[in-house]
């Protein structure tokens, strides 16, 4: 059964872009170990000849003509919830050092 260490939890938190408190790291260490222990019951299931299911509709390749469709909301409306806007663009901190 999977037992996560504090380092494992911090590595996951880094991948998920989540800063965790010390208390959260400790709680997740035990809780995630328990939850993973529970879901590990699937690992013994005979998978021979079975393909994974990623979607259940049976639909494939829904196409539409490659043309501009009027979507509705204006640029202004779409930008109204953005924390920082400059020149009608989303402003973020420097990406490249």
């Amino acid at each position: 059964m999977t037992k996560l260490s504090g380092t494992d939890v911090l590595k996951l938190a880094r991948l998920a872009r989540l800063e965790l408190s010390e208390d959260e790291v400790e709680k997740f260490r035990t809780e995630l170990s328990d939850i993973l222990g529970y879901v590990e019951q699937l690992q013994g299931v005979d998978a021979k000849g079975l393909e994974p299911t990623y979607q259940v509709t049976g639909l494939t390749n829904i196409m539409r003509p490659d043309e501009i469709v009027a979507y509705g909301p204006s640029q202004k409306e779409l930008l109204k919830n953005v924390p920082a806007v400059e020149a009608n663009q989303i402003k973020v901190k420097r990406v490249l050092g």
Binding site: L12, V45, N81, K93
Partner: protein
């Protein structure tokens, strides 16, 4: 007795001018204000609702067409984008989010004259079975304030039972409409995956997310589903609606001759004895009315919860990656660089359950573990689908309880996440398989409601609603 007539009757009276849409909106807002202590509602859309009611009444006065839901108030779970109030998904990270457009289903309901009056509480982002994971408040059960109303659409279910509106919208990713319907005592419908557009509804797990309907009767639910169903170019997994529609479901439906399979794995000792008894009595009534009842076994069902708690957190971790503090939602102001801005915005904005699911999802999708967890879960999902397909060769419908117990006490399951996840044990299979399923009130135990769950093959929503209508009459 409910204060609301049937939806068909309300719309008829509004169309004829005997009842004003404005009065209906008043009645709804009054009920919401009077029953505020149940904490079902996050915010009302009062101003916009009154304006729309006035417009509808004006159309009626001028003799213009007003639609088949004319003047009917409804409540939307707060993960639907709606004009007139913030859309928060009951999360701090979306506090203050002002929807730039409306969900397709809201637009379709409005086009038929329905009026959204309020936004209902939920477990933040739909993560939970009790609304105890709402970042704002816990919704109380209409039958006992010390108990939960279920979740994640607990606010919507409680609102319908408390007569705040004739119907409410929920979402159902693993039981989030059926389970609160069972706990609170109303009808809760989860459609075939893809039947109703999710455009403008905040995504949880895209391969099982569906739009749920909560109502006081199957007849009311069928009419609402009929208005919402069908292809939408903004949700590319949507499928055609049944050409015969859904609101005519009763007229050509008979219980006699239909084969209903009672699911063996859902009637074990793990399920409360009282719940099994109510389901047993309900099934006997169906049998007396002419249905053929047999026991059906789906041997992989006990694996469905583990499958769900791999697939769904994986998709959650992916869907919640968009809340990064840059494009919308809470943004940590004093971060020194972009990375810190992501980490701190998400750390502050997300509640504990969202974080837990992001962490599980990240683990099962991470390199080295993907095959053992995520891929294996999707293979077990195939196994489940095969077993349901085989079962539907023997019977037309499947039946069982919705939940293993009646509504639990507030705080009873919050300490142990696995125990809380078990509330979904009998609803997740229909979600993974993509079939329609409904919870209808079948009885009570010490005053607390128990729902009967009925399921049908994919795209058989019309006959399922027909069966449910016939069943509902028997249990009334």
């Amino acid at each position: 007795m409910s204060v609301w007539p049937s939806i068909v009757e309300i719309a008829r009276q509004v169309q004829s001018g005997r009842l004003k849409a404005a009065e209906l909106v008043d009645r709804s807002l009054e009920a919401i204000a009077n029953k505020n202590d149940y904490k079902a509602i996050i915010a009302t859309t009062e101003e916009r609702a009154r304006k729309r009611a006035k417009e509808i009444d004006e159309c009626v006065r001028k003799g213009q067409k007003v639609g088949k839901l004319a003047g009917v108030p409804f409540i939307a779970k707060d993960n639907f984008l709606v004009f007139g109030a913030d859309t928060t998904a009951a999360s701090n990270i979306l506090r203050g989010f002002d929807a730039p457009y409306q969900a397709t289903v809201i637009a379709r309901l409005e086009a038929e004259g329905a009026i959204c009056v309020a936004k209902a509480n939920l477990d933040a982002f739909g993560h939970g079975a009790s609304t105890e994971n709402s970042d704002f408040m816990v919704t109380k059960n209409p039958h006992d304030k010390t108990r939960v109303a279920g979740g994640s659409s607990g606010g919507s279910a409680a609102a319908v039972v408390l007569d705040m509106a004739p119907f409410a919208l929920g979402t159902d990713t693993g039981g989030s409409t059926r389970q609160p319907a069972s706990f609170a005592g109303c009808v809760g419908y989860k459609p075939t995956y893809g039947l109703i557009s999710r455009s403008g509804v905040i995504a949880m797990a895209s391969s099982t997310d569906t739009i749920g309907t909560l109502a006081r009767s199957v007849e009311d639910a069928s009419l609402v589903i009929d208005v919402m169903a069908g292809i939408d170019s903004l949700d590319s997994v949507t499928i055609d609606k049944d050409a015969a529609g859904y609101d005519t479901a009763k007229t050509d439906y008979k219980l006699k001759g239909n084969r209903i399979g009672l699911i063996k794995e859902y009637m074990t000792d793990d399920v409360d004895k009282g719940v099994r008894k109510v389901i047993g009595v309900a099934v006997t009534k169906l049998k007396k009315a002419g249905a053929e009842i047999k026991e059906i076994s789906l041997p992989s069902l006990p694996l469905s919860l583990a499958t769900y708690y791999i697939v769904v957190p994986a998709e959650i971790s992916s869907n919640l990656s968009r809340y990064d503090g840059q494009r919308y939602g809470y943004s940590y102001k004093d971060a020194k660089d972009l990375e810190a801005s992501y980490n701190k915005s998400r750390a502050t904005g997300f509640g504990y359950e969202a974080k837990r699911r992001i962490m599980i999802g990240t683990y099962v999708l991470s390199s080295g573990y993907y095959d053992a967890y995520y891929k294996q879960a999707q293979i077990v999902r195939t196994k489940l689908i095969n077993e349901f397909n085989n079962a539907f060769k023997e019977v037309d419908f499947l039946a069982g309880p919705v939940t293993p117990t009646t509504a639990f006490k507030v705080g009873e399951n919050t300490k142990d996440p696995l125990k809380m996840y078990l509330a979904d044990v009998m609803t997740v299979a229909a979600s993974l398989v993509g079939i329609p399923a409904i919870s209808i009130p079948a009885g009570t135990i010490q005053g607390l409601p128990v729902g009967l769950q009925l399921m049908a093959p994919q795209r058989q929503d019309r006959v399922l609603l027909g069966l449910a209508r016939a069943s509902e009459d028997l249990f009334a």
